[in-house]
């Protein structure tokens, strides 16, 4: 159990955690602004991953795969808003939650019906990893780190540097007050769902690049993403990313001690213990709202 082993485990944990945290970022935005846990986020990611299969038609390479995936995610997400979540906005959060679960099932069933259960892969060349010190770094790893950093920076700048971001935060803080102040919630929410969809699509395609594209992939990613959202304090974008990374690190670094079958349990143990000590999550201080 040398340094190199732990360094590699930590690196694996970081990369896995980042994929999760992009979806967590999508969930935390919806959670913070529309105020309900969006269970359809995972399946929006799946649709993004499938749309990524069209990337090679558009131009090839990882970038086009990601762009196709993000576009599809955004479209679907905004469609959900108009079809479902806008009519349900006045109702309790439970209605929206249930509706999102129903939508998640519907999307998965539709994908399975039309495209089947078979796995698909992106036609990308399989390249050998580069040794960086004790680490073995694959091009995919770098892409994931860059994508996560860019996504976080973009979300952060939109929220804090642009007028629409300011309005988003206002709606999140107090929807009534925002309305009285002349902010049109509709436009704010469309922007929010657009961003949430882009992020889900991004996380889906990156997961697809790393693994295989299948109708269940997003749903399987949803639980860890929710855990990351809660761990990093609901509504806090930085928290969501750090939460995802923290769970990823804890899972991988625990494997020499608890074995591989229990590492998922360790991720949730971290969540449990954190919530017992800090029920508001890790990063409540500089939270997006409240």
């Amino acid at each position: 159990m040398g340094f190199s082993l732990f360094a590699n485990l930590a690196f694996n944990g970081l990369i896995t955690g980042l994929v999760v945290s992009l979806l967590a970022l999508s969930i935390t935005l919806v959670f913070g602004i529309a105020r309900f846990p969006n269970a359809a986020a995972g399946d929006v990611a799946t649709v993004g991953a499938f749309a990524g299969l069209l990337g090679p038609l558009a131009g090839g390479g990882t970038l086009w795969i990601i762009l196709c995936g993000m576009a599809a995610g955004a479209l679907l997400s905004v469609a959900f808003y108009f079809l479902l979540f806008r009519p349900l906005a006045g109702k309790s959060a439970v209605s929206s939650l249930i509706a999102s679960i129903g939508m998640a099932f519907f999307v998965r069933a539709a994908l399975t019906f039309f495209l089947g259960h078979d796995q698909r892969v992106y036609p990308l060349p399989i390249v050998r990893a580069m040794p960086v010190g004790p680490l073995r770094v694959q091009p995919t790893d770098i892409e994931i780190v860059v994508a996560a950093v860019l996504a976080l920076a973009a979300v952060f700048s939109i929220l804090h540097l642009t007028p629409i971001g300011k309005r988003m935060r206002a709606v999140a803080d107090n929807a009534e007050l925002a309305r009285v102040s002349g902010i049109r919630a509709n436009r704010v929410l469309v922007a929010m769902w657009l961003i949430a969809g882009l992020l889900a699509g991004l996380s889906g395609t990156l997961l697809g690049v790393k693994t295989v594209v299948s109708p269940e992939m997003g749903w399987d990613l949803l639980m860890p993403a929710f855990a990351a959202t809660i761990l990093g304090t609901i509504g806090n974008p930085v928290g969501a990313v750090l939460g995802g990374v923290l769970i990823g690190l804890a899972q991988e670094l625990s494997t020499p001690f608890v074995g591989f079958t229990y590492k998922l349990g360790v991720g949730f143990l971290v969540l449990l213990v954190t919530l017992l000590i800090r029920p508001q999550g890790l990063f409540a201080k500089n939270s997006l709202v409240r």
Partner: protein
Amino acid sequence: MERPVLSMRQVLLAAAGVAALGIASGQAFAAEPFLVGALNPVSGAGSPYGSGMQKAIAMAADEINADGGACGRQIQVVSEDTQTSPDAAVLAVKKLIDVNKVQVVMGTWSSGVTLAVMPITTAAGLPEMNTSGAPAISTEDKADLVWRFQATNGRFGQAFAKIAKERGFKRPATMAYNNASGLGNTEGFAKAWKEDGGKVVASVVYEPKQASYRSELQQILAANPDVVVMGSYLPDTTIILREWYQSGQNPDLKWIIPGWAANEKLVEALGPDVTQGVIAVDSISNENAPSYAHFAEAYKKATGQPAGSNVYAAMTYDMMVLWGLAMQADCSKLTPEAINGRIRGVDSASGDKVFTFAEGKKALEAGKAINYQGASSQLAFDQYGDVTPDFSLSVVEKGEIVRKSVVTIGK
């Protein structure tokens, strides 16, 4: 409005009368037919195989009937669809038993369905014949009423061990998907390998549906194995092989993988470079036996499909033939329990080898002990009622899966 020539009631009465006449005349010639339930996955995930499996049962029944039946009794097959769903299968089997009064149920495919149907057939005192893989089927069958015509996961493991030895591997490691099937493969391998004096250098059990298996691989590769034996499925195998190749570590490492994970889809996903030299192991029909040639010809005629396209059809065909022979072995007792008790007798290692129902019937009538050699396998049921099939060994060469040899494991 014109009056119809015959009222509906009159039509029905006439039809019933004709039907009654038919039954009466049938009974005049032969004893009551023996009822067999064919319970197959005609729809759902098993649908590529289900209707072929059902046809194969009917084919075998026709052969028995054409030969004068078993003990003079004609076989009548009642078919039902499991929909590859335990719920639907339970309803279907209850209907077969309570309404149709079948005396044996054969042809369930997925393990989930078989495990759901077994308690019902056992409670009714009826035998159940299946093509499922789960080890639990062997242990749950306390009354010895369940017969499995498919290789168990443990037997796959034994085949892996034999192949690893033949190929001269010295330092195997194992990776298993954490479920009964995955663990069954690698534990079966480890048991057979260790009994032969070998050592397993590393073993990992992994959770499904992960974004990466690099940490798991790292532990395996650190032990410097020369071959990794897998108990895995297609998606996880795709990710693991890709990550191994990308890591650049142990580039000469070989892989032994069950056929359902190492197939054309794997090669398609990863390309020829990554999959070069991967060893795929699959259970196969009893391809060199005359019974298989006989079955394959009839199957082609009945369905228009080659027998090789549906390994399960050969299994259900054998179910019906074997059952017919077990009936024929002692015509004085034709209760389901009594016939069930004679199954091992017509599959006896010391008996004369027979390859069709007609051959077997003749030998039995001559007072000989027989050993039915099936189209799907030599059968050779063990204490759990599990068969011992042959396996194919294929190697991926430049993107093609090339069959190298047939592997037979000991009885």
